[in-house]
């Protein structure tokens, strides 16, 4: 045995005990041997999505659980307000790529670990990139991004004669936190509940009715929203969109909100609140991120080594009042948008009245879809027809007039197929329209 191996044998003594000894609670497939540590150190390739609060913890946890082939992807740069929890970053790193700084810190600190950073969006890569990993771990704060990667991993599944090829499954371990609450879950795409199966677990963002904001404000938030939505576009103080990271912008909104609140005798507009509302800030603290990331890393270790049975499949955590955890099995949704094999149908109650913009609202607002800015196309008489796409300027201009047309006027019929593309998935969703029959008795 070489000297280097001797050192590494001792250094990883903790892991070797659980990997090289049999255990009564290990997975049925578990065969204790030194090859397992070899596998996680040399072969097993992990992808960590997000190098923020959870991501920093995940990289550290995984590196110390023996994993060496780790990729990390994050499009963000480091800000001052990250430093209370994102412990791989220092004052002098502000402005640099989170993925790059985090990777080089771990590589420096944990000898032998090779973290590869990707300073970009997850959408910048296609399936050839994602296919290379054994497991994917998400430390994200965005539901849209979670849904996208979920859709990506589902698109990598192979079905042969309707049976899922087990080797095409890339498990996804997802963590999330908000203040002192969090969750960790294990998703086996195609097998267990996926992100879209459980969309109703994510609360919709609070929005205030426009008429309240404009006419009957009562809360400080109403005043801030007014300045944000109505006053800013009208006065356009810097000739640009609001930049939540520009202190001058925040200050302007703060002062205008304060003016409006004084006018209505509303108390409670503070600089901190303004910032929170404008940037949609989620409170965050080191301890909760540490707990949730470590739970996720433990599950990665279990899945990669079989030394224990993995979490089945959802854990919620809360330490406001004592410390509370609850584990349950989230159920796969039979007609899930993302992972079911059943074609989607959408019931249209009143096809003669329903306009295309109403259809768009269904995709954006109904709990089952929760899309962001869906683009719709269809086939009419075997030809591809673009109904509406908002994300490409000249197509938007050309298709805008369709919004006020009814589905019938657009040539859509009972059974027509609509292809929906949205940020929430890399895959195009195909939806068959089902027109409600006029005869209510049948």
């Amino acid at each position: 045995m070489s000297e280097h191996q001797g050192v590494s044998q001792k250094r990883w003594g903790h892991l070797r005990k659980v990997l090289e000894r049999p255990g009564p609670f290990s997975h049925p497939d578990f065969e204790p041997s030194s090859e397992i540590l070899d596998f996680i150190m040399t072969t097993c390739k992990l992808l960590v999505i997000g190098a923020g609060g959870l991501g920093c913890e995940l990289l550290k946890d995984l590196a110390l659980m023996g994993f060496k082939q780790i990729h990390v992807i994050d499009m963000d740069t480091i800000e001052l307000s990250n430093l209370n929890r994102q412990f791989l970053f220092r004052q002098e790193d502000i402005g640099s790529s989170k993925a790059e700084v985090a990777a080089s810190f771990i590589n420096r600190k944990v000898k032998g670990c090779q973290v590869t950073p990707h300073f970009c969006k997850i959408q910048d890569y296609d399936e050839t990139f994602y296919r290379q990993f054994h497991l994917v771990v998400c430390g994200l704060d965005s539901i849209v991004a979670r849904r996208w990667i979920n859709g990506m991993l589902i698109s990598l599944l192979n079905y042969e004669d309707g049976t899922l090829d087990q080797t095409s499954i890339i498990p996804m371990i997802d963590g999330g936190t908000e203040g002192f609450k969090g969750h960790a879950r294990v998703i086996l795409p195609g097998v267990s509940a996926c992100i879209d199966c459980t969309l109703d677990l994510y609360p919709p963002q609070i929005t205030y009715p426009l008429c309240t904001i404009a006419n009957t404000p009562r809360l400080p938030e109403h005043c801030i929203e007014y300045v944000k939505i109505i006053q800013w576009p009208k006065e356009n103080p810097w000739g640009s969109l609001i930049d939540g990271d520009d202190p001058q912008h925040i200050l302007w909104i703060y002062e205008k909100s304060l003016e409006r609140s004084t006018q209505f005798n509303i108390v409670g507009v503070t600089y901190r609140l303004v910032q929170g509302v404008v940037k949609n800030i989620i409170p965050a603290v080191a301890s909760t991120n540490a707990v949730i990331a470590a739970m996720c890393a433990t599950e990665v270790f279990k899945l990669a080594t079989s030394c224990c049975v993995p979490l089945n499949n959802y854990l919620v955590f809360n330490d406001v009042d004592g410390i509370y955890t609850y584990t349950f099995e989230a159920e796969k949704k039979e007609n899930c948008l993302a992972c079911s094999q059943i074609p989607q149908t959408l019931l249209i109650q009143d096809p003669e009245q329903m306009k295309l913009k109403n259809l768009l609202d269904v995709f954006c607002e109904s709990a089952a879809y929760q899309m962001k800015n869906p683009g719709l196309t269809t086939y009419i008489n075997g030809k591809n027809k673009t109904l509406y796409i908002s994300t490409i300027k000249n197509i938007e201009e050309k298709t805008r007039e369709n919004l006020t047309k009814t589905l019938l006027e657009l040539g859509l019929q009972d059974g027509s197929e609509i292809m929906v593309a949205d940020l929430t998935s890399p895959n195009v969703l195909s939806v068959r329209l089902k027109f409600a029959s006029k005869n209510v008795d049948t």
């Binding site: 609670f25 209370n84 009957t216 910032q275 080191a286 470590a294 049975v309 009042d321």
Partner: protein, 532 residues
């Protein structure tokens, strides 16, 4: 265009750095954190991870007490120790690495074992706000537990072995003003409106309003109006039963012209308020218990501001018959003026009750001979606002439990699935370490014999507890011996995050701490808390 305003406190560099946590415990919580001194005994992976989650949010200072030298195994599971530290003092190496995390935090270390430190400097551990110990042998735990108990210094004891671990809190007494309950019911006190509120509410005869006027009225005003109607039809009594509440809901629903087939938003809210907001305003049991506490009744010069304010609250409850009103209203669909005038009435009432409580508390404090600034207005304000969520925690001394022959642990051994069994096994593990100076299963060729030895020790423990017939599953004992004392980083990191947050709760006096032993089982990803 606006000129840059003078630098407001919210824009200081510090409050920008800590912004995300200030939204959770406020500037006042942060101030307590920044003034705190924490001591960590043993810089294991669990220990350094706990300190990491305390250094990042900005505690004042920490001290590490650890007599060990850094080993290769340490480097394999502890992020704050690397190859270059091998052979060095573990306390020193960990302190240096942790200090890099936050330049606002001070830290030092003592390269010695905690029992030596106790011997040389008797009161050394009394100089901290919280003591946290990891991997502490029983023979040191016993005297330290007793010492900290009598000094009333919070003590957190944790252990992480393989996929298992526990966190235990020992503290004599801990008081909390802001518990941050998840969902609070609005405090409207409609059963006992004060004169100015009554006058305001009775001005509005919502039944004579047209559609537009009606839509401006807040739910609370609607509710009050029809509550009066209900009372006049029911002998002046409030609706209590479900049926009576249904009756009130129907009065509200049927008050609208029949052509309205969907209820207007404010009426909808009024109907919703019926369930939780028309109850008799009374002092909740858990608060009454605090007001009847020994420490509330028999104040001394030493009484903390919390108990002085409780005594003032007690006086107030005796004269007013209720807790001070919270003073905040939930948002209600209404026009601005109607809502704001109502909100101001509640705010003013809360303010005047706060002043009255503050005056009483200052008076009591003076009569005890306490210093004139013992009670601050800001604290009284906070206390008043949260008077319905006060919390007093009284713990147990760990040494007493270890030496008791009928510990409460034995009460939880009926359910064979209970995580309490892991507590028993980990207690057995502690006896094992004391007896054999090694972890069970530490050496590859000793796993099987150690299983037997550990089982014997656990059997002895159970006999002492008077439950010799309780069977501990062989599988669980075997699993613990499989670990051989291995510390898995990710398991330690879970326990560490929990322990760090408990520490923050103790320092800030916000949120309820664990009572008193948290057991984490990463095999099944479950946890449980027991009162031991």
């Amino acid at each position: 265009m606006s000129s840059p305003s003078p630098k407001s406190p919210e824009q200081s560099e510090k409050s920008r750095k800590y912004d995300r946590q200030l939204r959770l415990w406020g500037d006042h919580g942060q101030k307590l954190l920044e003034g705190s001194k924490i001591c960590l005994i043993n810089a294991t992976a669990l220990g350094t991870e706990i300190l990491k989650s305390l250094v990042l949010p900005g505690i004042g200072a920490f001290t590490i007490v650890d007599g060990e030298k850094v080993t290769e195994e340490d480097v394999g599971c502890n992020f704050f120790l690397d190859e270059t530290h091998i052979g060095m003092s573990r306390a020193q190496a960990a302190t240096e690495s942790l200090l890099e995390l936050n330049r606002d935090v001070r830290g030092d270390y003592i390269d010695d074992f905690p029992d030596h430190v106790m011997l040389h400097t008797q009161d050394f551990f009394n100089n901290f706000n919280v003591i946290i110990a990891t991997a502490l042998p029983e023979k040191v735990l016993m005297p330290l537990s007793k010492q900290l108990w009598s000094a009333n210094i919070p003590f957190l004891v944790c252990r992480s072995v393989g996929f298992l671990g526990y966190v235990r809190l020992q503290i004599k007494e801990h008081t909390v003003i802001e518990t941050h309950p998840d969902n609070e019911t609005p405090d409207l006190q409609l059963d006992r409106p004060w004169p100015s509120l009554m006058e305001h509410l009775e001005q509005v005869d919502v039944s004579n309003f047209g559609t537009k006027e009606r839509s401006h009225v807040p739910a609370l005003t609607i509710l009050y109006h029809y509550l009066q109607q209900f009372k006049s039809e029911n002998g002046g009594l409030l609706p209590k039963t479900h049926a009576e509440k249904d009756k009130l809901r129907n009065i509200i629903r049927n008050s609208l012209p029949s052509e309205n087939d969907i209820l207007e938003e404010n009426y909808e809210q009024a109907v919703k308020f019926v369930n939780v907001c028309v109850n008799c305003t009374c002092v909740p049991n858990h608060i009454q218990k605090i007001l009847d506490d020994e420490l509330c009744i028999n104040l001394t010069f030493e009484s903390s501001p919390f108990w002085v304010m409780c005594a003032a609250l007690r006086e107030m409850v005796q004269s007013e018959g209720a807790l001070p009103i919270r003073g905040s209203l939930p948002d209600m669909a209404a026009d601005t003026a109607s809502f704001i005038s109502l909100q101001q009435l509640y705010m003013r009432q809360a303010h005047s009750q706060m002043e009255s409580l503050y005056r009483r508390a200052v008076q009591i404090s003076r009569s005890l001979g306490q210093s004139t600034d013992a009670i601050t207005e800001a604290e009284a304000k906070l206390f008043c606002k949260h008077a319905s969520e006060l919390h007093v925690f009284r713990g147990k001394c760990i040494a007493d439990e270890y030496q008791s022959n009928s510990p409460s642990a034995s009460l939880h051994l009926e359910d064979p699935e209970s995580l309490m069994f892991y507590y028993v096994i980990l207690r057995g593990l502690e006896s094992f370490i004391d007896e054999y100076n090694a972890y069970p299963g530490q050496y590859d060729d000793h796993v099987e014999p150690d299983v037997l030895k550990l089982k014997t020790l656990i059997g002895k423990l159970l006999t002492e507890w008077g439950c010799p017939t309780v069977a501990i599953s062989d599988d669980r004992v075997h699993e613990v011996c499989r670990y051989g004392g291995a510390e898995l980083h990710s398991v330690s990191a879970v326990l560490a995050g929990c322990t760090a947050h408990e520490t923050i709760k103790l320092i800030t006096h916000q949120f309820k701490p664990i009572n008193n032993t948290f057991i984490y089982d990463a095999i099944t990803s479950t946890s449980a808390t027991f009162v031991l």
